[in-house]
């Protein structure tokens, strides 16, 4: 082991991650690293056409390839052949209709990857082409084909609206109104580890090691899709090589299960290439947003109108839930008494829209925070002052109608930002712009609700074991995809039990060993499981000290204190080794189990049960205020983000280092969304099909970041914490947008990302005079 093993975990201290060394040395086994001594390869023939009725699949030629073991089509699927988190509308292997280029038609199992590749290329299929839908507008045109003919909403997966106060009528009482329309692109997760796994079917039991965020949900979903009973299916989830929402749902699981059941007793491996990951994996939803914000002369917001359309691609995936979160967060962390917020998640024949860090909030924040800056300029207020004037406090409602009843720290974030040197010295910095350069400074805020909302139980079940050796084992079922929740659980339990890392052990999510904990998503992993874990630890502590008291025939448990490896009896100073205590206990007694369900809101924000089911409203929110400094090269349109700062209210920090890592990663990913990542398609086909043309930022593109926390206590959170995994990305794009507008006299981008080409176009278009109602220089 390493130096960290002797460290005593301490909540609130910046501590090196105990999993870091193993990962850096390449010892940690990710799903991609599982290779049996002898294994088969599975792969999929994908449609490559965006929309069509499947007539037949021809596999004869492929079957002749030496080394090919089996080729399966939908006819070989004994289950429902349908997967999906909410609506089960996605086939494992297409049986009737191809709905996007990434749909799977046939599954090949072969001895070598070369044989697999050869066979896949030989599979052909007959189809009747159908006209495709590639924009949300096309989906509603007269005569548009229905992507799911039996879906009651036609091509609309889900629509909803939230109206508060007088709704649109309130605009009549506004002194100033600003308006903004933007179109946001898809975004690719681009994790290091593409979708992959290894499965084996032995003695009627199927076991799948998979890179996933959702092992327990995978078990249920895969079992019904491929026709195996869930108790015969085990999902093992090692550390995940990046998820960001892209592995919140089925990727390879059902395909691997089918392959393993067709070729029993041999491990079967599937690993998507980068191109396949781009084509078949879910993306952040492309969105079109139209915003109107009204205020009184003094800068107090009065009315908000939002229209938000999300391109959810051909399947639900989590499109409805993304829409729900977007609607709830559409008005940002501001008091606006009158609002009419409406939106749609729309089926198209593009790539699948699904979960991605932020989950709809980056889209609405992109528009809202730019509208706030437009209003500030119109009323000659500073962007910070207008935000402070309207920022919510505990007890306020956000525009969607949700009451904020837990810690609400946006005002503290703004106050801290105002005092930051990057804010105070922005004007001086801007004046020093070199030749051909324009400099600007811009801010944006966000709030982000945690957990699943009122309908889907947000639960986690923690299991803690005192081993016979006197060490503690934490069984957790909520995946660590790199964010560090696993080691945070060690830190929490280690602090409460006063044990060094060497006395602590993690059992990673595994439906055979750990207990259901829900998904690693929704900024909930540490919050929900942490609360469950604390209860399990407290129960364990009480039990152990009481049993120690009994066996030593002393007063009661409260006479003991935990020290590394021992219990100390305080009145006598005697030390009782935990291993010795463990020997006195039966296996059942050495285990504690605790379930926690996060608070579900009792508030009626909407009567629409579909919206409630899709997560409205939330109860606990994190808050953040970001500031970006940008420099624009007027000769090329190139934008450099020179400095970045963010102040966040995510409760108390458990490990400040991990907080920094989450924030840095989220901001970097947000800068990719704002400036670099253009997911270009042509009629459903990918033109930026891999990382050579789909540009994610590199280390040199990421600015220095000053990241702080206001450190407010969240009383419902374990050790006072709230989630930070998503809020970090929410306001990045609008902070950059506002900085760019500040630099170039108000120019704003309509179609994102803001590439150098679009920036140069903005610079060449004359800017409207200040105070015009429309956002200016839209291109």
């Amino acid at each position: 082991m390493n130096l960290i093993s002797k460290t005593s975990p301490s909540v609130g201290a910046s501590q090196a991650r105990p999993d870091a060394l193993n990962k850096v040395m390449g010892h940690e086994k990710f799903a991609a690293d599982y290779y049996g001594p002898r294994h088969l390869w599975a792969g999929v023939r994908r449609a490559g056409i965006p929309h069509g009725r499947l007539i037949s699949v021809s596999t004869e030629a492929a079957k002749q390839v030496p080394g090919v073991k089996k080729i399966l089509t939908h006819k070989d699927v004994n289950g429902s052949n349908r997967q999906g988190v909410i609506q089960k509308d996605q086939p494992v292997l297409v049986d009737d209709r191809i709905r996007h280029c990434g749909d799977a038609l046939a599954l090949v199992i072969a001895e070598t990857s070369q044989a697999l590749e050869t066979a896949l290329a030989l599979i052909s299929f007959e189809y009747e082409a159908l006209p495709g839908i590639f924009t949300t507008a096309e989906a509603f045109q007269y005569g548009a084909p229905l992507i799911h003919p039996t879906h009651p909403g036609g091509n609309c997966l889900l629509s909803g609206q939230l109206v508060s106060g007088k709704g649109l009528e309130a605009f009549e009482a506004c002194d100033a109104i600003v308006e903004l329309t933007i179109d946001l692109p898809r975004q690719e997760h681009a994790y290091l580890e593409t979708e992959c796994g290894e499965a084996v079917y032995e003695k009627g039991e199927l076991s799948i090691v998979v890179s996933t965020q959702t092992p327990f949900r995978d078990r249920a979903e895969t079992a019904q899709a491929i026709g195996i009973s869930p108790e015969k299916l085990r999902i093992i989830a090692p550390y995940c090589g990046g998820g960001f929402g892209g592995k919140d749902g089925i990727t390879v699981q059902s395909l691997l299960g089918l392959a393993a059941m067709a070729c029993p007793d041999v491990p079967i491996k599937m690993m998507w290439s980068r191109e396949e990951s781009f084509l078949a994996g879910p993306k952040r939803h492309a969105a079109s947003l139209h915003y109107r914000l009204g205020a009184k002369q003094n800068g107090v917001f009065h009315a908000l109108e939002v229209r938000a359309d999300f391109d959810t691609g051909p399947y639900d995936h989590l499109g409805g839930a993304v829409l729900g979160l977007a609607l709830e967060h559409a008005g940002g962390p501001y008091r606006i008494p009158h609002a009419a917020i409406q939106g749609k998640a729309v089926y198209t024949n593009n790539t699948i829209g699904g979960a991605f860090r932020g989950f709809g909030v980056p889209q609405v924040a992109a528009a809202m925070e730019q509208a706030v800056d437009l209003m500030a300029e119109k009323l000659s207020l500073s962007p910070l002052d207008i935000r402070m004037k309207n920022a919510v406090q505990k007890g306020d409602k956000i525009p969607s109608g949700t009451t904020l009843k837990t810690s609400t720290g946006i005002r503290e974030c703004l106050a801290r930002l105002k005092a930051h040197p990057l804010y105070r010295e922005a004007d001086a910095w801007k004046k020093k712009a070199p030749a051909h350069m324009l400099r600007g400074s811009g801010m944006a805020c966000a709030l982000h609700g945690m957990g699943y909302g009122p309908f889907v139980p947000d639960t986690a079940i923690a299991k803690l074991e005192l081993t016979k050796q006197g060490r503690f084992k934490i069984y957790f079922g909520v995946v660590d995809m790199g964010q560090g929740n696993g080691v945070t659980f060690l830190q929490m339990a280690g602090d409460l039990l006063n044990q060094n890392y060497e006395n602590l052990e993690l059992v990673l999510p595994d439906t055979g060993l750990t207990l259901p904990c829900g998904s690693a998503s929704a900024s909930r992993s540490t919050y929900t499981f942490g609360n469950a874990l604390i209860q399990a630890v407290e129960t364990m502590k009480t039990r152990l000290t009481q049993r120690a008291a009994d066996s030593l025939m002393v007063g009661d448990g409260d006479e003991f204190c935990f020290i590394p490896g021992h219990l100390r009896h305080l009145p006598t100073g005697r030390e009782f080794p935990l291993a010795q205590l463990a020997a006195l206990l039966g296996p059942e007694e050495r285990i504690t189990i605790s379930r926690y369900r996060a608070l579900a809101s009792k508030e009626t924000v909407t009567q629409d049960t579909a919206l409630q089911m899709h997560g409205i409203p939330h109860t606990v929110f994190s808050y953040t205020a970001h500031l970006a400094h940008v420099e624009i090269d007027t000769l090329t349109g190139g934008i450099t983000v020179c400095n970045y700062t963010a102040v966040t209210d995510c409760g108390r920090l458990i490990n400040p280092d991990l907080y920094q890592q989450q924030m840095q990663g989220g901001i970097a990913q947000g800068l990719g969304y704002a400036l670099y990542e253009d997911f270009i398609t042509d009629k459903g086909r990918l033109l930026t099909a891999n990382l050579s043309t789909y540009i994610i930022p590199g280390a040199l593109d990421i600015p220095p970041m000053a990241l702080s926390s206001v450190d407010l206590q969240e009383n419902t959170g374990p050790f006072g914490m709230k989630g930070v995994g998503e809020i970090c990305i929410d306001p990045v794009l609008p902070a950059v947008a506002n900085a760019v507008a500040d630099a170039c006299g108000g120019g704003r981008c309509r179609q994102w990302p803001l590439t150098c080409e679009r920036m140069l176009e903005i610079l060449t278009i004359p800017v409207c005079p200040p105070g015009a109602d429309m956002n200016r220089s839209l291109i």
Partner: protein, 291 residues
């Protein structure tokens, strides 16, 4: 997987080349093409054990610097001769790929890929570089600009290898400048690039100038007319630069692809000329499109 052959001498290498085998230098382009199945060689000829120094050394021959085709970008960047005589080449190589790619990739490889976006090419064009092609029957030299005939196409005969690159020293140029426009600061294929050499009179007027653009046409673009418009222009007087920028925009017909549109490339081809001006351009007010 292709077999790998490791020749020890130049003769062995030339034999293998004459037999039609594929040469692996740094592999930074070759492996990408192999992964994409653009080429599927049965064998690869790896240069790692070659005893011949000519492919790997940088030598001062008096009026010229001679660079072995297998010298990596990293070694060129660190080489004092290259630093002293060809800053424009160093500037360009600094933007090529990433440290890992610069450590593996070679100058010869960048030339043989013959991409219009090859980062080393605009500098080599303005520096009047010549290539030395070696074959079983001896070697020949030709100018790089004649050698490269199109995207991915060169005048190399099948039995030849690109052996060395010869670059004349440049006493008559005072300023070396390279700029690359990419989508990010590293690992970026040029949307556009420009290399410039400028010689100045005592009162800072342009008396000699060479310009070359990458990613603007099928091969590296040059424009004697644009250069002519700059002759005699004071370095701090925008007028000549604006005229020159207009000229290159008129001359070229760039492509549109997923990286950028033709209009952007045309506009910026001129704007990069404006960057050379050391006077007050006031670009925003004047507008990059004002010309």
């Amino acid at each position: 997987m292709p077999a790998v052959i490791l020749p020890q001498t130049l003769d062995e290498l030339l034999d293998l080349k004459a037999q039609g085998h594929t040469i692996l230098a740094g592999g930074t382009d070759l492996f990408v093409h192999m992964r994409n199945k653009k080429i599927q060689p049965q064998t690869l000829v790896c240069l790692d054990q070659l005893k011949d120094k000519g492919l790997r050394e940088v030598a001062d021959t008096g009026d010229e610097i001679c660079i072995g085709a297998a010298v990596t970008h990293s070694r060129l960047i660190q080489n004092p001769l290259v630093q002293q005589h060809f800053p424009v080449l160093i500037q360009a190589l600094d933007t090529l790929g990433s440290p890992q790619i610069r450590n593996m990739g070679t100058l010869g490889g960048n030339i043989m890929t013959a991409s219009p976006a090859g980062d080393s090419l605009p500098p080599l064009y303005v520096l009047d570089a010549q290539v030395e092609l070696a074959g079983k029957n001896g070697s020949r030299r030709m100018s790089l600009s004649r050698f490269i005939t199109g995207p991915g196409a060169t005048g190399l005969n099948p039995e030849e290898i690109l052996y060395r690159i010869w670059i004349p020293k440049q006493p008559s140029y005072d300023l070396h400048h390279f700029e690359k426009v990419g989508h990010r600061k590293s690992l970026s294929i040029a949307i556009l690039s420009m290399a410039a050499l400028i010689g100045l009179t005592g009162d800072r007027k342009i008396r000699a100038v060479r310009l070359a653009w990458g990613s603007l046409g099928k091969t590296i673009a040059t424009s004697p007319e644009t250069e002519k418009r700059l002759m005699g222009t004071p370095m701090d007087d925008p007028a000549g630069f604006i005229l020159a920028a207009a000229r290159i925009r008129e001359e070229v017909s760039p492509i549109s692809d997923v990286r950028a549109g033709a209009d952007y490339r045309r506009q910026v081809a001129g704007n990069l000329v404006l960057r050379l001006c050391q006077g007050p351009l006031e670009p925003l007010k004047q507008g990059p499109g004002a010309v």
